[in-house]
């Protein structure tokens, strides 16, 4: 469907910037760049939506089966072009525009940017950062979708705990969880796993490794509902956790809670990273907060599972109400190997609330 709130926001942006036409380019990886205006889960290699100053929206799809749902979302103003180049040429020939901006221009194939340039006889400008800034603050409707995704993440993690057992492989576990979240309405899912002990330094797609008693089994589970992702990060130990795993977990829990306690409108996102890292420093593990052992201390969530801003000490951004992000101090520790722990957090007027209901503990199977 057309995102009515965003439609209005993007028209205001166009007026402010003096753009005649705003294109939204998505491909199969970055569907969000299209879906932030036309929220249809298209299947073709690419799709483009064009927002005109008049408010009219037209779309070009590259898969015949995308035509019906996309046309329904844009008052029938959708066309099919098996080659996007043909569709762009036709779209731009009808309505020559002086100033064209593209959301996702960086990601767009260079040949398509060239077509836009040739059609309007001037270089298009990137709208990606401006659109991204608008997308960071969620509308009430978007928050509802994220709450549903968070609920599904909780139930998906229950399934994870229920089925995980010694002898099962990583990819079989993912198959079971994937089947569960899809059967319960997820349209996609971002999911990393890892298993083992102190030799595990990070997460990746599942392998054929079989779980053993004593393993830490970690996951970032991120189901998508109507386009919107929510995430949960938890660690499970097969059998009884040892003292070092328990010690590590207590550090992760303290760090995540520090982030949750701090997060509120007006806070610099770098401080949300710093308070997490400070916990590790206080416990003598400060070196494990750097890029050699970890990536980020959290990130924004929405139509893309890894939206900006990233929660890092060198990233400065003032938090706003109705942002949704995950704070996760996930990293390697010599106590336990790689460990993860995090909740999806909605920024309220005065603080934040966790959208996950899953118990905060080191799980056992």
């Amino acid at each position: 469907m057309l995102n009515r709130d965003r439609h209005r926001h993007f028209l205001e942006l166009m007026a402010e910037r003096g753009w005649d036409l705003l294109l939204f380019y998505g491909d199969n990886w970055r569907k969000d760049l299209f879906r932030c205006l036309v929220n249809v889960n298209f299947q073709g290699p690419q799709a483009v939506a064009a927002l005109f100053k008049s408010g009219e929206v037209r779309a070009v799809v590259t898969d015949p089966w995308d035509l019906e749902p996309v046309a329904a979302a844009v008052n029938g103003n959708a066309s099919l072009a098996l080659r996007l180049a043909d569709g762009l040429n036709a779209l731009l020939a009808k309505e020559p525009a002086a100033v064209v901006a593209i959301n996702g221009m960086e990601h767009m194939e260079a040949r398509f940017v060239q077509i836009v340039r040739d059609s309007v006889r001037t270089a298009p400008v990137s709208a990606t950062l401006d659109v991204e800034e608008i997308r960071r603050v969620k509308s009430p409707e978007e928050i509802e979708w994220i709450k549903q995704a968070a609920d599904l993440a909780d139930r998906g993690y229950q399934q994870f705990v229920k089925v995980c057992e010694p002898g099962m492989t990583e990819y079989e576990l993912v198959a079971e969880v994937e089947a569960f979240v899809k059967a319960n309405g997820a349209e996609d899912n971002f999911m990393l796993v890892a298993s083992g002990g102190t030799e595990v330094t990070g997460m990746k797609p599942p392998t054929g490794r079989k779980f053993q008693v004593g393993d830490s089994v970690t996951t970032e589970l991120t189901p998508q509902v109507n386009g919107y992702y929510a995430q949960i990060c938890r660690t499970l130990v097969i059998g009884a956790p040892n003292d070092k795993q328990l010690q590590a977990y207590s550090i992760f829990a303290e760090a995540q809670q520090a982030a949750q306690d701090l997060l509120r409108p007006g806070v610099d996102i770098s401080d949300v990273a710093r308070v997490q890292n400070d916990v590790f420093r206080r416990h003598g593990f400060g070196e494990y907060t750097g890029p050699q052992y970890t990536r980020v201390r959290g990130h924004n969530l929405g139509l893309y599972p890894d939206e900006l801003p990233h929660v890092l000490e060198n990233v400065h951004y003032i938090v706003k109400p109705d942002m949704v992000l995950i704070a996760h101090p996930n990293t390697y520790l010599p106590l336990s190997g790689y460990m993860v722990f995090g909740d999806t957090l909605l920024v309220t007027g005065t603080g934040c609330v966790s959208l996950n209901k899953t118990e905060k503990k080191l799980f056992q199977s």
Partner: protein, 314 residues
């Protein structure tokens, strides 16, 4: 992101197959008079690099560089923490951490003394990468995809064939009258479970309730006119098939008047629409046929090789 089993079974796809492909790429370097060839990949555009080295960026972007006469080098935007795993599932022995792909490529060129490079389908690069590379003091020669993978090889065909066998077995076992009454979410879940437990690397399930085209599940009930379409990736090789609960079939290839959705499965993207058979000679293509029955739309389709003598099911 890819969250299925990414693996390399050397019995299934031997090292010798990659050696032969590399040999062809060395010849391509000679033909285009370049010291090395560069290919781009990301999570949804992995087919070409998978062909070169079996590398699959389950997330993020990468460049694979094939120096003439040498092993391929991976410029990788993922963390070095996953490089040991990447080495177990690819032919890559050298992986260079590359937070900036253009910067790392320029550095590699300086070290190797290269002043020009062949770039596979250069205009297909993401615009930021294209622009940043353009700013480097290097000359680029565009290498069209047609020169890179002119004909599907036997090893490719064998991999697609295995994927097709798996897809047929699972679809024909699940999309049956027994599925009537399930929600399309539940059917999608059943298919996910079976395919992923069988080692699927990636999977997309679309379902039609007989009234429209196959789409992602939306909470509709499976009925006697429902069809399911599955795009399945098995160790880097895609197939696409459709089956229906009524078990109605179509001739494949279908008659010239049939309503057909034809796609290329060995192109830059997992699947791309193609308009005619002439567009797709000697490549893996799928054909999904819409069958009208009692004002309902049923779907049936499979994957095959589009050769000079026509389309042949794998």
């Amino acid at each position: 992101m890819k969250r299925g089993l990414i693996s390399w079974d050397r019995d299934e796809l031997p090292v010798a197959a990659f050696d032969a492909r590399l040999g062809a790429l060395y010849q391509l370097c000679a033909d285009f008079d370049v010291p090395a060839l560069v290919a781009y990949s990301d999570v949804c555009r992995s087919n070409d690099v998978r062909y070169i080295s079996n590398y699959m960026p389950y997330w993020n972007r990468a460049l694979t560089v094939v120096p003439r006469g040498e092993k391929p080098i991976l410029l990788c935007a993922l963390s070095p923490r996953v490089y040991p795993w990447i080495k177990t599932v690819t032919v890559h022995e050298t992986i260079l951490p590359s937070p900036s792909l253009p910067g790392q490529l320029a550095k590699l060129c300086a070290e190797k003394g290269w002043s020009k490079l062949g770039v596979l389908d250069r205009a297909g690069l993401p615009n930021d990468l294209y622009t940043q590379l353009d700013a480097e003091k290097l000359a680029f020669v565009d290498v069209p995809r047609g020169a890179f993978r002119p004909v599907a090889t036997e090893s490719e065909l064998a991999m697609h064939r295995r994927a097709a066998v798996l897809a047929r077995e699972v679809l024909e076992g699940e999309v049956t009258p027994g599925a009537i009454g399930l929600s399309d979410y539940e059917l999608a879940g059943r298919l996910e479970r079976r395919f992923r437990r069988a080692g699927a690397e990636d999977l997309v399930v679309l379902i039609s309730d007989g009234r429209g085209v196959p789409l992602p599940a939306a909470g509709n009930k499976i009925n006697k006119n429902s069809s399911a379409t599955v795009a399945l990736e098995h160790n880097g090789h895609w197939v696409k098939l459709s089956r229906n609960a009524a078990n109605v079939t179509s001739a494949l290839p279908p008659s010239a008047t049939a309503d057909v959705h034809r796609e290329l499965l060995s192109g830059r993207y997992p699947w791309e629409g193609i308009s005619s058979q002439e567009d797709s000679l000697n490549v893996i293509t799928s054909i999904q046929v819409m069958i009208e029955r009692d004002e309902n739309r049923l779907y049936y389709g499979d994957t095959g090789l589009q050769g000079p003598d026509g389309w042949r099911k794998l």
